[in-house]
Amino acid sequence: MTRPANGSEAMSEPHHGGDRPTPRTVLRGARLIDARGDHGVHDLWLAGGSVEGVDLGGDAELEIDARGLLATPAFLDPHVHLRTPGQEEKEDLASGLAAAAAGGFGTVVSMANTDPVVDDPAIVADLVAQAAALGRARLRPAAALSLGLKGERLADYAALQAAGAVMITDDGIPVVDSHLQRRACEYVRELGLVIQTHSEDPSLRQGGVMHEGAVSHELGLPGNPAEAESIMIFRDCEVARMTGARVHIAHVSSERGMRVVEWFKAQGAPVTCEVTPHHLTLTDEAWRAFDPVIKVAPPLRTADDVAYLRDAVRRGVVDCLGSDHAPHTRAEKDRDALRAPFGLPNIEVAFPLLYTDLVLAGDLDLARLLELLQGGVARVMGWPEPTLAAGAPADVVLLDLDTEAAVDPAGFLSKAKFSPWEGRALRGWPSMTLVAGRVAFDRAHA
């Protein structure tokens, strides 16, 4: 797809940041869509890491044939697990950020539940520096709410922010101590950082490995009731209202939980929420196959919950999507249902999956889906709205909305090469992702 205008060898590797100047690039004949609207087919010019403008003249160092493709700002993901530092057998920055770019994402927020935990400014700074050298998606680390994710003592939020942390969360481990949650919110409020919560009450969740309901009782697997989520969402929203801190509820999975978020939003509480691709497309019925690949927390719920989440997406109650891309090794997922870890990889299929199952199915407008992956995330994070306007960062994804292809986990750039959607025929695959004006992913050379 890429054709260097100077006739040199086609590039198959991303440019690495720093030393080399960003090539002046033109995306020829793309249909341009951003938050301002559908601008029709144009040539989009990128220079110096920014959008230069449309239909300009002059020489391009890199010509990209984008005819038939949709060009839109690269996606943002407020919720990924890149397993670095310490769990690189599951994912590392190179694989995780390459996978993100392959999914059309230009920026991802990495969670802090690593080993060691991201509760130290030096770790944050190191992650940012390592990621910048890779030339894939941009990394914006989240930092822990409590030291060591132990739920006991506050982390050094200001120092973590100064080192590059953009979010505070113990994601993966619910904060049990309501007093600690309150103090964290109070302290973080003045820093302007968003606090993200993994809202599940561990004492009600117990050892549940799947949604508690007719299917769990039939299959004899320990259940995790939706009320474990809704009760904790209530606590987290109430603390947000009480303290005025910006609280983002991660991966709302149930109708009950979403209704609580709606109730607080209606009162003007400073809360936002996300849903994941898997909670919008899979149900607890998937457990009948007993493949722990679909073991996630919070668990896959019922078809009624999925319908309610989709409706909440349409009605604008849901602020954004969060992939909760959570890779594990194949061996870990080959354990039994009780011992396999929670989490599944999905960042490379998130857009095609939602485009096919929601947009093509007539459930959602394309513009709304894009908003959930662009402006919606930016508003949650307090970032500028991504657009293709001149001067905006040259973070662009080219989407092929026409070609149907089956999900092939063997071809994932993530280290986690398995998927509950293996073999599903999907449309909407990203062809190319540019970050800061450089090619971070090119399907033709992937």
Binding site: G220, D336, L338
Partner: protein, 322 residues
């Protein structure tokens, strides 16, 4: 194998390759299995309790959870048909915490068995194993999910002990106790309703979720008298004492008072009703001690029938399908 050949044991349609649960089995296939069990039971009455039916086959027992009686019963059933038996006890510390189920199976499978008898604390583990071996899998109990051979031997015991109801039509089975955590209850519900019986499940709400009553032929009650009234068989389930610590039950005394299967309550049942228990029993907890020794109790017969029923299962899966 001459006269011992269970010719009656060929089902009208092809039965599933594995016995993971009873979902894929028709009532006709189950009755055919019971007919084979009759032949096997006859073998067990002979002086020489051994036939060459499975000579040359190797049965592996793979127990990821401790069990004495089920494992002994399967091994007896295999050896009585001249199969070789290899045993792997993975309970406790012998399987390192990190080893995947797949790796454990692959290690054992390298030693080549034709069929594995698997018990595992996690529901679905035997089904997972079918993806990684060509051998047949018999589920000997997976978590709370299923224990199909226990249900088969329970129903077989009823069929051979309650004349006039061998067809199971109109039969009422009461299962009393910790239904929520019981694979025995789940498999018996699946099997007895398939055979035409109705099942009443009884226990406190903490041990009997409403969703278990959604299956056709199943009713729920929280009063043991209601469950037992007119029943043809009453099955008491073992009550694990850790249920008290887990906050699911009040005192033992209260449970005994409200849910024990005893002589007084059995007066409400059908006059010929059988008293059943999958074992091991907590005498004078879920079942009155003297009732377990009463002529109505078939608890020992259940254990005895385990061998011919499991012989029939092994024979049907290894030979019946060829």
């Amino acid at each position: 194998m001459g006269a011992a050949t269970p010719a009656a044991g060929s089902p009208p349609t092809k039965h599933p390759r594995h016995l993971l649960d009873l979902a894929g089995w028709t009532a006709e296939q189950v009755h055919a299995l019971f007919d084979t069990s009759d032949v096997m039971a006859q073998v067990m009455t002979r002086t020489i309790k051994k036939v060459p039916a499975l000579q040359g086959f190797t049965v592996g027992t793979l127990f990821f959870e401790d069990s004495t009686r089920t494992r002994l019963s399967f091994e007896r059933a295999a050896r009585a048909q001249s199969a070789d038996v290899i045993s792997f006890a993975a309970g406790g510390s012998s399987v390192s915490k990190g080893e995947s189920l797949k790796d454990t199976l692959k290690t054992i499978d390298a030693m080549k068995s034709d069929l594995y008898v698997v018990r595992h604390p996690a529901a679905g583990a035997p089904l997972q194993l079918t993806r990684w071996t060509d051998a047949a899998i018999v589920n000997a109990g997976d978590g709370r999910r299923a224990h199909p051979t226990q249900a088969l031997l329970d129903a077989y015991t009823f069929r051979t002990s309650f004349p006039g109801y061998a067809g199971f039509e109109g039969v009422e089975l009461a299962i009393v106790g910790d239904v929520a955590h019981s694979r025995v209850a789940r498999s018996n519900v699946e099997l007895w309703t398939k055979l035409g019986a109705r099942v009443r499940l009884c226990g406190p709400r903490t041990l009997l979720p409403d969703e278990l009553g959604e299956r056709p032929g199943v009713t729920l009650t929280h009063r043991v008298e209601e469950a037992v009234e007119g029943a043809h068989a009453v099955m008491a389930l073992r009550l694990q004492t850790e249920r008290m610590a887990g906050g699911l039950l009040p005192s033992l005394a209260e449970v005994r008072e409200r849910y024990q299967v005893n002589r007084a309550r059995m007066r409400l049942a059908h006059p010929d009703a059988l008293v059943m228990h999958p074992g091991p029993m907590n005498r004078d907890v879920e079942i009155e001690g003297v009732l377990a020794d009463d002529p109505r109790s078939v608890v020992e017969r259940q254990v005895a029938n385990g061998v011919p029923v499991r012989m029939a299962v092994l024979y049907t899966l290894l030979v019946g399908s060829r």
